[in-house]
């Protein structure tokens, strides 16, 4: 295959798989890496024996995409800890093996182009009591139901915003939990503004939503808009929640609170793009506190030569958007021509789905009033147990000083879980939160493993903090930003 372009793809979800298929079709040598044990990403998370097939959507598409990968080099269980793009060459370093194991195999990859398709994770806003066992993100409920066939509780309340809550409720019901209710924070005005105009842009998405609501009805699960969990009750674990009606800005409406007994809560107020790799590569990121994404052109090219991005890191649009963008990115990364007939379909879908992403934000985007369901002593940073009051008190300090003083965002998750909430609290208290998504460490790898490779200093500019154990995970190390 001399002369073929070498394309590396980071992420084996819908965007990455579509990129691999398109790059192969355009004649490239493809290497695909994913940190999970199986391909499919969060959307097609599965286990051959454990997953209930009723919970898989578009599975035939996944099998087709996976089917062409015998012509590619595929590494699952690969944690990429260093990325570089310069002089027309992309260099990636990873360790491959069981999650968080010691002495995983080193993997170095050189390519002519890279497609970054690292996806997103749940954005769960803090709620008083949310550190109690039994509270998970909606994505965790989905992953545990689909991948492991288990549910955290027997009576689950689902709360947050966005269409994702509906398949989560369905998964919980199929996997064996009663779903007491699904609470969508947005009210009818926002939902109508996002979902009703220009129905041709939705291309079946509204129909999917109606189908899901119908499925919930068949399971006897109430779907309540303009409401949400505003407090979790319990001492050692979840015993119930307080549900309140929310106004258009997501402020709880006084007098509407009611207690509901349950033993599990699934929270999902949106998604946070996983930008670490794109930021490390130097890609331009734009946006505001409502969401920051990798900037791409019509061919999914980022601001850095040879670096393409696709899927949720360019805007939260769901699997159909990710599939189209991935195909465009993979084809372009492989040197395929923009006017090639094989890519005209994905290009058209890509344009329509970018409009869909904007509509999702309009219908379900986080509104600033949510902070009024917090108490002063509510833990916001789960890793370091930092309260809302502690963050608000330091809001006028530069972000780095606030983080060092409070430790918010300096724990093992490096602010991935609390970043959006901390930014909102700082902004509300009059501060200027910037750059919470910059992290020196791309993926949790062990210092010992990197040291054994003999070139750890380039990426790990962090110092061990609390544990002096050199085998602790790098992500568990204090971030010096």
């Amino acid at each position: 295959m001399t002369g073929a372009k070498r394309v590396a793809i980071l992420g084996g979800g819908p965007a990455g798989l579509a990129a691999a298929q398109a790059a192969l079709a355009a004649g490239a040598d493809v290497t695909l890496l994913d940190e999970g044990g199986r391909l499919g990403g969060q959307y097609w998370r599965h286990h051959e024996q454990l997953t209930d097939r009723r919970l898989q959507h578009g599975w035939a598409r996944f099998e087709r995409l996976r089917g062409v990968l015998d012509r590619a080099e595929v590494h699952t269980g690969a944690s990429v800890w260093s990325v570089e793009a310069s002089d027309g060459l992309v260099r990636l370093q990873a360790v491959v093996g069981p999650a968080d194991a010691t002495a995983r195999a080193a993997l170095d990859i050189e390519a002519d182009a890279v497609v970054v398709a690292t996806g997103a994770h749940d954005l769960a806003l803090p709620v008083p009591g949310w550190t109690l066992p039994g509270v998970t993100t909606a994505g965790a409920a989905q992953a545990l139901a689909k991948r492991d066939g288990v549910t955290v509780g027997r009576r689950t309340v689902v709360s947050g915003a966005g269409p994702f809550l509906l398949p989560v409720a369905q998964s919980l019901a199929v996997a064996g939990s009663e779903v007491v209710g699904v609470h969508e924070a947005s009210r009818i005005g926002a939902l109508a503004a996002g979902w009703l105009p220009r129905p041709w842009q939705l291309a079946g998405k509204a129909g999917e939503l109606v189908e899901y609501v119908g499925a919930l009805a068949r399971h006897g699960i109430p779907y309540r808009i303009g409401s949400g969990v505003v407090r979790v009750l319990g001492t050692d674990r979840v015993e119930g929640v307080v549900i309140a009606a929310l106004d258009a800005e997501w402020r709880p409406i006084p007098g509407t609170e009611r207690e509901v007994a349950c033993d599990a809560v699934a929270l999902g107020h949106g998604f946070t793009p996983r930008l670490e790799v794109a930021i490390a590569l130097g890609c331009t990121i734009e946006g505001d506190r409502r969401g920051r994404f990798v900037v791409v052109d019509e061919a999914q090219r980022t601001s850095v030569a040879g670096v393409y991005a696709a899927g949720e890191i360019t805007g939260i649009g769901g699997a159909d958007a990710a599939l189209a963008e991935g195909a465009v990115a993979g084809f372009a990364a492989a040197g395929g021509a923009r006017d090639d007939a094989r890519i005209s379909g994905p290009l058209a879908v890509r344009r329509r789905m970018r409009a869909f992403a904007a509509r999702l934000e309009r219908a379900h985007g986080i509104r600033p009033g949510w902070t009024s369901w917090l108490a002063d002593d509510t833990v916001v940073c789960r890793c370091e147990n930092v309260t809302r009051r502690a963050i608000a008190d330091r809001a006028d300090a530069p972000l780095r000083a606030m983080k060092l003083a409070t430790r918010a965002g300096l724990g093992p998750c490096q602010g991935r879980t609390c970043g959006r909430a901390v930014e909102a609290i700082v902004a509300e208290a009059g501060g200027a939160p910037e750059g919470f998504d910059r992290r020196p460490v791309l993926a949790p790898v062990r210092l010992g493993e990197v040291a054994a490779l003999g070139r750890g200093s380039a990426v790990i500019d962090t110092e061990p903090a609390r544990r002096d154990d050199a085998e602790t995970t790098v992500a568990a190390v204090e971030a010096q930003q």
């Binding site: 940190e35 999970g36 044990g37 969060q42 286990h47 051959e48 024996q49 454990l50 069981p98 999650a99 968080d100 194991a101 010691t102 994770h121 749940d122 769960a124 550190t131 109690l132 066992p133 039994g134 509270v135 998970t136 993100t137 994505g139 965790a140 409920a141 989905q142 992953a143 545990l144 991948r147 492991d148 066939g149 288990v150 549910t151 955290v152 509780g153 050692d236 674990r237 599990a264 833990v379 789960r382 890793c383 147990n385 724990g411 093992p412 998750c413 991935r416 879980t417 949790p444 062990r446 609390r466 154990d469 085998e471 602790t472 995970t473 992500a475 568990a476």
Partner: protein, 80 residues
């Protein structure tokens, strides 16, 4: 079926489940001691590090990401 020990208690899981899946399947929801109380799974996809356990003597393993292997020894982690 597989069998793993959790803080010296033996529990059964299904082949292929993650350690978190085995623990939850056995009725446990929390297995790490943090300052504000016990923690278990929160994000479920390897981001939040709430579910860390020690596996066969190796600290800091995300229970939601690691597939359980028959005979694994899982121990609680305590962070003051």
């Amino acid at each position: 079926m597989i069998r793993i020990t959790v803080d010296a208690e033996s529990i059964e899981g299904r082949d292929g489940q993650t350690i978190a899946g085995v623990l939850i399947g056995a009725g446990r929801t929390a297995w790490r001691t943090a300052q504000t109380g016990d923690r278990g799974v929160f994000c479920g996809i390897g981001v939040c590090h709430d579910c860390l356990v020690t596996v066969n003597g190796v600290e800091g393993v995300r229970a939601c990401q690691r597939e359980a292997v028959d005979g694994d020894r899982v121990e609680r982690e305590v962070r003051a």
